[in-house]
C-alpha cells in the first residue's frame, strides 16, 4: 500500500490528521471468543471488541498511567452518582449511530445489558448481577411475562438518559461501564444466540467477513466519525485479523516484517524468553517492542485456616524463603516481570504503596525462614505439596514450581509437586473441596483499580464453598470486610486508590498470600506501524490508535 513513498512515510512522525488509510494486519493465536457483546469477558472492552462496540465509558487512549483512567464513550461524562453512589445516571452524546444508520438510544443500552442476563448468552462478568438491584434472579428478556422480561434496576427516562440502581455503593461503577455488556444492541436486530452472526456495530469499524478461527476483516463504519468519538483514531481503512497462528511464527513474522507483515501487529502474543535472548543483538528490532504493564500479580497461595498455614510464623517463613529472582528467571527474566512484595502492582491507579515486611532479598532468606519454622514448631522443616499446571512456560507451570521447590528446599521445606491438567487447574484451585495445599496462582483486575484486585481475594464474604472461589487463602477478617465496604463507596478514583493501597499495606503483615512477581508485557509490532503506545490498562498497544501510513 505504501509504494515508493511508503518507506519514506514510515520515518515521518505520526500525525493523527493524516494517519488514515491502509490495512492493518493483526496476527493472533486465538480468535475472539464471541462477537456478541453480551458474551465477551474483557477488561475495558478489549482490543478488538472496542473497534466494533462502543460502551457508556471506555479506557483513556493514552500511554502509561494516564491510560489507566476511565473516560466517557457513548456517555457525555463518567456518570453522576447519587444516593451514596448507589444510583448512577448517564446521558448519551448526540449524533450516535449504528453502522446501519439508525440512532443509538439509551433503551438499546439497557436492552444490551438485559440480554446479557440470559442463560443462553453466558460469558460476561457477574458484576451486574451482583450490583444491580433485583438482578439476582433475573433471566433476561427472552423468557417470562412482560414484567419479568425487563430489569427494573435500569431506567431510561428518555432516549438519551439511562439510570442504574445499585444495591450497595460502588464508586467503581464508571469502570464497570466499560464492559461490552454496556454496548447498545437494537432490539429489532436481536435474535438471541444468532445475534453474533450479524452484530450491529456502533464503533468505527464493522465486520466485512468472518471465518471462525481463521479470519476477521473489519472495514469502516461510515456512520462513525471522530466527531462523535473523541477516543478512537481509527486510522487504517481495513483491519485484517488472522487467528490460529503459532506464537513463535507470529513473532518471527513481526520481526521479519516482509510484505504485508510490515503492517502487522498482534494483540495476544507477547515476546517469549527465547526471543528476548536474541533481541539485544538486533537494535532495529529492539525499537519495535512495545512495553506494557498489565496489572497482574503472581503469588503463592495456601489455605490459612488449615495447618500448617494457620500459623503466621509458617506463612512468614514461606515469605522469607521464596527466591523471587529464580521465579522471575523461570518465566523469562526481568523483562517479563519484577519482584512483588506487595499485593498490588506498582501502579498509581491501583493505589500502590510499597512495603516489604519479610525482606527475602533477591534470592530468599532461608536462614530466617528456618528460624521462623523452628519457632512455629517445625525445627526439622516440613513437607508440603505444591500444585502446578502442565503448560510449559506458564506462570503456574512446572518451571516456576520447580523454582519455588528449589528455594524452599534451602529453608528445609520439602516440596512435593503435583501436576494438575491446565484446563482444570483453576477449577481445582478455586474449589475449597479440592484446593491443593500450596499452589501458584495469578490475579489481574477487570479494571485498573484496587477494588477488583483485592476484593475477590481478601473479602471474607466472597468465599464460595461450591467452587468459583478466589479467596483461596480463606481470609475472613471483619476489619478487612468493613474497610472494603467503606472504600467501595468512595466515588473519587484518586481517593479510592489511596485507600486501597493502605488496605493492601495493612493486610500484607498477615502474609495471607506470598506475592512473587508482577508481570510485564513486551509486544513486537511491524516496521510500518506507528503510534504503538501502551497503556497500563491493557498492557498492549491499542488497535484503534495504530496507523500504518
Amino acid at each position: 500500500a505504501c509504494g515508493t513513498t511508503g518507506g519514506g512515510s514510515s520515518t515521518t512522525a505520526f500525525d493523527p490528521k493524516t494517519c488514515q488509510g491502509g490495512t492493518l494486519e493483526v496476527l493472533n493465536q486465538r480468535d475472539i471468543t464471541h462477537l456478541d457483546p453480551a458474551r465477551i469477558y474483557t477488561s475495558g472492552g478489549g482490543n478488538i471488541p472496542s473497534l466494533l462496540f462502543r460502551t457508556l465509558t471506555t479506557r483513556n487512549r493514552a500511554a502509561g498511567a494516564a491510560g489507566a483512567k476511565v473516560v466517557p464513550d457513548l456517555a457525555t461524562d463518567l456518570g453522576t452518582p447519587s444516593d451514596n453512589a448507589k444510583t448512577w445516571t448517564y446521558h448519551l452524546r448526540s449524533g450516535l449511530k449504528y453502522a446501519d444508520g439508525s440512532a443509538i438510544t439509551s433503551e438499546d443500552i439497557k436492552y444490551g445489558i438485559e440480554r446479557s442476563f440470559s442463560p443462553d448468552l453466558p460469558g460476561g462478568a457477574a458484576y451486574l448481577r451482583d450490583w444491580l438491584v433485583g438482578a439476582k434472579n433475573y433471566a433476561g428478556p427472552y423468557k417470562g411475562d412482560a414484567k419479568t422480561r425487563e430489569l427494573a434496576a435500569i431506567e431510561t427516562p428518555d432516549t438519551k438518559t439511562i439510570v442504574f440502581h445499585l444495591n450497595s455503593p460502588h464508586g467503581d461503577f464508571p469502570y464497570l461501564a466499560t464492559a461490552t455488556q454496556f454496548a447498545p444492541v437494537p432490539k429489532a436486530k436481536d435474535d438471541g444466540v444468532d445475534y453474533e452472526k450479524h452484530p450491529v456495530s456502533s464503533g468505527p469499524y464493522q465486520i466485512e467477513t468472518y471465518q471462525k478461527n481463521k479470519k476477521l476483516v473489519l472495514t469502516r463504519n461510515k456512520y462513525w466519525s471522530r466527531g462523535v468519538d473523541p477516543q478512537r483514531l481509527a486510522c487504517p481503512d481495513t483491519i485484517d485479523i488472522t487467528s490460529g497462528l503459532n506464537p513463535d511464527v507470529i513473532n518471527q513474522r513481526l520481526a521479519a516484517g516482509s510484505g504485508n507483515d510490515a503492517n502487522a501487529v498482534t494483540t495476544d502474543t507477547d515476546l517469549g524468553p527465547a526471543q528476548l535472548a536474541q533481541l539485544q543483538s538486533n537494535p532495529e528490532l529492539a525499537k519495535r517492542v512495545a512495553k506494557g504493564n498489565f496489572p497482574y500479580t503472581y503469588y503463592l497461595t495456601y489455605d490459612t485456616t488449615k495447618a500448617p498455614f494457620d500459623k503466621l510464623k509458617v506463612r512468614e517463613a514461606f515469605s522469607y524463603a521464596v527466591n523471587r529472582n529464580s521465579v522471575i528467571n523461570a518465566i523469562g527474566g526481568s523483562s517479563l516481570g519484577y519482584p512483588a512484595t506487595t499485593f498490588l502492582p506498582a501502579q498509581k491507579s491501583m493505589g500502590y504503596q510499597p512495603y516489604d515486611y519479610f525482606p527475602a532479598g533477591k534470592s530468599g532468606n532461608p536462614a530466617k525462614a528456618k528460624q521462623l519454622l523452628a519457632q512455629a514448631g517445625y525445627p526439622h522443616g516440613l513437607t508440603v505439596t505444591l500444585a502446578h499446571n502442565n503448560t510449559a512456560d506458564d506462570p503456574s507451570g512446572p518451571e516456576v514450581a520447580t523454582a519455588v521447590q528449589d528455594a524452599l528446599k534451602k529453608a528445609g521445606i520439602t516440596v512435593k509437586l503435583q501436576t494438575i491438567d491446565s484446563n482444570s487447574f483453576y477449577d481445582t484451585l478455586n474449589n475449597p473441596k479440592t484446593q491443593p495445599q500450596l499452589a501458584i496462582a495469578g490475579w489481574g483486575a477487570d479494571w485498573p483499580s484496587g477494588g477488583p484486585f483485592l476484593i475477590p481475594l481478601f473479602d471474607g464474604r466472597q468465599i464460595i464453598a461450591s467452587g468459583g472461589n478466589f479467596n483461596t487463602a480463606m481470609v475472613d477478617d471483619p476489619a478487612v470486610n468493613k474497610q472494603i465496604d467503606k472504600i467501595n463507596a468512595i466515588t473519587d478514583p484518586a481517593q479510592a486508590a489511596k485507600a486501597w493501597g493502605a488496605l493492601d499495606a495493612s493486610m500484607g503483615k498477615q502474609a495471607w498470600y506470598v506475592p512473587l512477581y508482577h508481570g510485564k508485557d513486551l509486544t513486537l509490532y511491524g516496521k510500518n506501524v506507528k503510534n504503538a503506545f501502551v497503556s497500563d490498562w491493557t498492557g498492549v498497544y491499542d488497535l484503534s490508535q495504530l496507523s500504518v501510513k
Binding site: A126, Y142, G244, N246, V249, Q252, S258, G468
Partner: protein, 330 residues
C-alpha cells in the same frame, strides 16, 4: 470380495462403536467441567452453570448421553435445551459445547486442511524415503549409505517443530522465497494451495522419511537375497531394474502397512505441524476440544479418525493381497 467387504464394514462399525463409547467413558473420568468452561472464565453463577449443564445434556447419566448420541447418528435428534429447538439431521454428531457449531460441519471444514497437509506430505516422505532407502541399499555399507542413514536419522531426531521453524526462517525470512504459509483451499487456487503447503510438507517429510528409508533399505536387502532375484540378474536385467521392479515390490509390502498407519494417524495427529504453519486442521481441533473438554467434538474427531484408520487398513489389506497374490483376503 463382497462378503469380505461386508465383514469389514461390520468390523469397522464395531470399532467405531467401541471407540465412541470409550471416549464417553473417559470423558466421565476427566477432571474439569465443560459447562464451567462454557460459562465463562471467572465468576459463573450456580444457576447459570446448571442451565448450561441441562442444555448440554450433562445432567443426564453418561449412558443416556451416549444413547442419545447414537440415536442422533442414526435418526437425527432435536436439541431443545436452548431458546429455540434445533433439529440436527441424521448423521448428527451434535454441536460443539464451546462454539455451538455442528460437529459435522466443523469436521468437514477441517478435513480438507488436514488431508491437504497429510496427503501431500505423505507423497513426499514416501517418495524421498523410499528413494533414499533404495540408494542406501544399493550402496550398502559404502559412504553414500552412511550419509543417507545419518542424514535421515538426524531428521528423525529433530523435533518437527524445530524443523518447521527453521524452514520458515530460512525460506520465509532470509531467502524470502515463500510467503509465511497459511491455508489456501485447493479448489480456490491450486498453485497457491501448493505454495502454502510446501513447507509443511517438507517439515513432515524430514521427520517421517527416516522410517521409510530404513525399512526400504532393510526389506530391499532381504528381498535381494531371494532366489528369484538371481533369475532376473541372469537374464541381463540391470541392477537398477532388478531393484526397481523385482526387489522393490517385495520390499514395499511392509511399507504398505506402515504407510497407511502413518497416513491415517497423522490426519488427526499432525498437531504440531498444523499449529506451526497455521493450518486449522483436525489435529488442532482435537487438541483444543480435548483441552476444552468439548465432548461432541472429541467424539466427532475420534470417530472420523477411527473411520479413516479402519478404511485405510482395509485398503492396506487389499493392496497387500494385490501386491502379493499368495496372501488371501480373509
Amino acid at each position: 470380495m463382497a462378503a469380505y467387504l461386508v465383514r469389514r464394514v461390520i468390523g469397522a462399525l464395531v470399532v467405531l462403536l467401541v471407540l465412541s463409547a470409550a471416549v464417553y467413558v473417559i470423558f466421565y473420568a476427566l477432571p474439569g467441567n465443560p459447562a464451567q468452561l462454557v460459562c465463562g472464565p471467572k465468576t459463573c453463577q450456580a444457576d447459570q452453570l446448571h442451565r448450561i449443564e441441562t442444555e448440554l445434556g450433562l445432567d443426564q447419566p453418561i449412558y443416556l448421553q451416549y444413547w442419545h448420541f447414537l440415536v442422533g447418528i442414526v435418526a437425527g435428534r432435536t436439541f431443545s435445551g436452548g431458546p429455540t429447538a434445533i433439529h440436527c439431521a441424521a448423521p448428527c454428531l451434535g454441536y460443539s459445547y464451546q462454539t455451538g457449531e455442528p460437529v459435522t460441519s466443523l469436521l468437514l471444514d477441517r478435513l480438507p486442511v488436514s488431508a491437504s497437509l497429510v496427503v501431500g506430505g505423505f507423497v513426499i516422505w514416501v517418495l524421498v524415503g523410499v528413494g533414499l532407502g533404495v540408494v542406501s541399499a544399493l550402496r550398502r555399507g559404502r559412504a553414500l549409505d552412511r550419509v543417507v542413514t545419518t542424514a535421515t536419522l538426524a531428521g528423525n531426531s529433530v523435533p518437527v517443530f524445530l524443523v518447521g521453524l527453521l524452514l520458515l526462517i530460512v525460506f520465509c525470512v532470509y531467502l524470502r522465497w515463500l510467503p509465511f504459509p497459511g491455508y489456501q483451499p485447493l479448489t480456490a487456487n491450486p498453485a497457491l494451495w501448493a505454495q502454502n503447503l510446501i513447507l509443511p510438507w517438507v517439515a513432515l517429510s524430514v521427520v517421517s522419511a527416516a522410517v521409510y528409508t530404513r525399512l526400504t533399505r532393510t526389506s530391499m536387502l532381504e528381498t535381494l537375497a531371494e532366489d528369484h532375484i538371481r533369475t532376473f540378474r541372469a537374464y541381463g536385467l540391470s541392477e537398477s531394474r532388478v531393484i526397481r521392479r523385482h526387489a522393490l515390490r517385495g520390499a514395499l509390502t511392509p511399507l504398505i502397512t506402515i504407510g497407511t498407519i502413518d497416513l491415517a494417524t497423522s490426519l488427526t495427529g499432525a498437531t504440531l505441524t498444523e499449529s506451526l504453519f497455521g493450518l486449522p486442521g483436525l489435529g488442532q481441533l482435537l487438541v483444543t476440544s480435548v483441552r476444552n473438554i468439548d465432548l461432541p467434538v472429541v467424539v466427532g474427531v475420534t470417530i472420523l479418525a477411527g473411520a479413516v484408520i479402519v478404511v485405510a487398513n482395509m485398503f492396506a489389506d487389499i493392496l497387500y493381497s494385490v501386491a502379493d497374490r499368495r496372501v488371501a483376503l480373509a
